[in-house]
C-alpha cells in the first residue's frame, strides 16, 4: 500500500500548506485532484488501511472547504527553479520553472527513470 507516497507528493506539491492564498487556489485544487487520483490508484492495495481511509476523507474535506471541483486539471510534476543549463541560448532564461521537467529531480533522491518505445518497419 503506497498511500504514504501519495501523502508526501501532496505535501511537497503544496509545501505543506492547508490554507493556500486565494490566488493559489487553482494550484491547490489541482494538487488535491492529483492527490485524489493517487489514492484511487492505491485503492486496491490499501483497502482497510487507516492511513488510506483518512487520506481519502481528508481530501474530500479540503476539496469542499476550498470549493474545488472533482474534474479539472491535475497538478503537473512539481518543478524547481535552477538557472538554465549554460549554452542553451535559445532557452528563455525567464521561462517558468514548471517548463523544465528534469530540474524537479535535483532535490529528490532519485533521478527520473526514463523509458523508451520504438516502432519501425511496415
Amino acid at each position: 500500500c503506497k498511500i504514504l507516497k501519495c501523502n508526501s507528493e501532496f505535501w511537497s506539491a503544496t509545501a505543506g500548506s492547508h490554507a493556500p492564498a486565494p490566488d493559489d487556489a487553482p494550484e491547490f485544487c489541482a494538487a488535491l485532484r492529483t492527490y485524489a487520483l493517487c489514492t484511487r490508484r492505491t485503492a486496491r492495495t490499501c483497502r482497510g488501511d487507516l492511513a488510506y481511509h483518512s487520506a481519502v476523507h481528508g481530501i474530500e474535506d479540503l476539496m469542499s472547504q476550498h470549493n474545488c471541483s472533482k474534474d479539472g486539471p491535475t497538478s503537473q510534476p512539481h518543478l524547481r527553479t535552477l538557472p538554465p543549463p549554460p549554452g542553451d541560448s535559445q532557452e528563455r532564461s525567464d521561462s517558468p520553472e514548471i517548463c523544465h521537467y528534469e530540474k524537479s529531480f535535483h532535490n529528490r533522491a532519485a533521478a527520473p527513470n526514463y523509458t523508451h518505445c520504438g516502432l519501425f518497419g511496415d
Binding site: C99, Y101, N113, H116, L119, F120
Partner: protein, 260 residues
Amino acid sequence: PHLRTFTDRFQTCKVQGAWPLIDNNYLNVHLTFQPPVPGSWAVSSPHLTIIFKNFQECVDQKVYQAEMDELPAAFADGSKNGGDKHGANSLKITEKVSGQHVEIQAKYIGTTIVVRQVGGYLTFAVRMPEEVVNAVEDRDSQGLYLCLRGCPLNQQIDFQAFRAGAESPGAHRLPAASPAPSAPDTFPYETAVAKCKEKLPVEDLYYQACVFDLLTTGDVNFTLAAYYALEDVKMLHSNKDKLHLYERTREPPGRAAAAG
C-alpha cells in the same frame, strides 16, 4: 510494424486502421494504417500524428503530422516551438537531416521524440520519464496503448514459426500457419541473412526483424529501417545493457557461453 514497448517487449504486429502508440495526460501519438490494397502483400504507408497537449504556462496544444515523403520540420500550424506562452521554447522541433530525420524535444515533460523516414518507411522512437508514461486519468481504459501494453496477442506475428519455415532448404515462403503475407520470390533466405548481417552483426531481434521484412517484402530498404531503429535505441534508451533484445528461448551468445 515491429514494436519495442516501454517495458522492452519486442513484437511484430499485423495492424490496420488507427493505433494509439501513446495516450496520456500530456501526449497522444497514433499511427493510421490504410487497409492493404487487395492482392498486395503490405499495408500502404502509415500516417503518424503526435499531439502535445496544452500544458500550463509552457505550451499551447501542438500537432505534428508525418507520412511517407512528408516529414515536416514544423508543427501543423507552421511553428517550430510551443507557441506564445512564456515557456514556449520548452517544446522545439529540430530537423537533423532534411526529409529524413526530425527530433522533437519536449523539455517540460522530459521527453524526446525521433521520427525518421528510412527507405520507404517511417520509424518512431521516444524517450519518456516513467512518471509521465503513467500519467493517465484512468489507467484501466487508457493504458491500452501500444507503447505500454504492446499489440493484442491475436495481432502478433510469431518470428519463430516464420523462421522455422523460412530456414528449410529452398523454401523461403512463409509457413502456412504464419499470418504474414509472403513476398514475391525475390529474396532467398541466405541473401536476406547476409544483407541484414551487414548492418546488424548482432543476431538480436532487430536482426530477426530485418530478415523477416526482407523475406516478406523483398525490399532491402528494411535493412536500414531496422538499423536506424537500433541506433535510436542507443541514443534514447537509458539502460545500455538492454540495447539488444533476444527471443525468450535464446540467451545472448555471451550469457549462453557463460552458462555453459
